[in-house]
């Protein structure tokens, strides 16, 4: 029944199926047939929307970043309205940590892609830009907090931001690897925030 179809939405649906395949079997499990079966469509249809497999993988990567960034922006935006610098910093970190099934999926997919690219000499400019972006956002907020006298001016804002951001990155792998529960991760974040925002 060939009704007119929104190609972009179709691609997003296929990307969602791809995510599930990745979570279940890693990036190497992504085959045209597997994705098609997961999406409940024929393999040819996948090829219809993605001329080559690599196009599909690239689109899915951009999509997972887009989804993650949107979630993070919403979370940080809500905190920004409160005007509380500590809440903003916490929102930045909370946006990174996988807490529910959805964010867990997005994080797992990102790690799978990351690993596939760390090796392949990966040219994923977005991934490399993700951690630095987090560091910059945190540094900015910490500097603001220092000006508001909520963080000691003796601290190095850039260093503190780096420490928090890399800790969050490590917690992501810790959570996905089963070494940390989401609760323990947030406890650690709050512990560090308590040190930062004490004076």
């Amino acid at each position: 029944m060939p009704k007119r179809v929104d190609h972009q939405q179709r691609r997003c649906e296929i990307a969602e199926a791809l995510f599930r395949v990745v979570v279940r079997g890693g990036v190497s499990a992504v085959t045209l047939r597997a994705v098609a079966a997961e999406a409940g469509i024929s393999m040819n249809l996948v090829q219809y929307y993605f001329p080559a497999k690599d196009d599909m993988l690239r689109f899915a990567w951009r999509r997972v970043v887009e989804l993650s960034v949107a979630r993070a922006a919403a979370e940080v935006g809500r905190a920004l309205e409160s005007g509380d610098e500590r809440a903003v910093v916490r929102a930045y970190l909370a946006a990174v940590l996988p807490s529910d099934e959805r964010t867990r999926l997005l994080a797992a997919v990102q790690i799978a892609y990351f690993a596939a690219d760390v090796t392949r000499g990966g040219p994923h400019p977005d991934e490399e830009a993700l951690l630095p972006h987090l560091v910059r956002g945190l540094a900015e907020q910490i500097t603001l907090a220092q000006q508001a006298n909520r963080v000691s001016p003796a601290l190095d804002a850039a260093m503190e931001a780096g420490a928090l951001a890399t800790m969050a990155a490590g917690l992501v792998t810790g959570i996905l690897g089963g070494a940390y529960t989401a609760e323990a991760a947030f406890a650690l974040v709050d512990y560090r925030l308590g040190q930062l925002f004490c004076p």
Copy 2:
């Protein structure tokens, strides 16, 4: 020229070739033919020493953990002789961070395996045990440092250990992803150690 050969050493050589393949193209690039070519032997010989491909992957995983742990133990052991708690803590962290080509390779391989397993519902007990082990070792040393009055007793040793360990884990991905240089990572570690070991 069939001289009598040490099978275990042969397996290790093949594993080294496998590492290079993984670093170059990810775990998915590991094929019998690719590993054989990298090792400069025929594919049949690889199969001779590893009955199935999965045996090879498993052996290589155990090997990379063994090599990493040995390196770390040596580094920490040297620091332990000095009796300086701060040096020991730093050694724990330095042992994790990829600083030269060799440790970079080992870290990349571990991340590749980690990602392949985070997804596959991975049953690699060693990997899950790696971060907790680091946390435990750090917590122990920090507690000792508190007893030696080199770290404020007001701090929570377990939390500090967790924060340092996860930061190190995040720095590993940061270094491999190109977001951090090894020097910047060590600067961050030393900054945090300066905070911990001030009083």
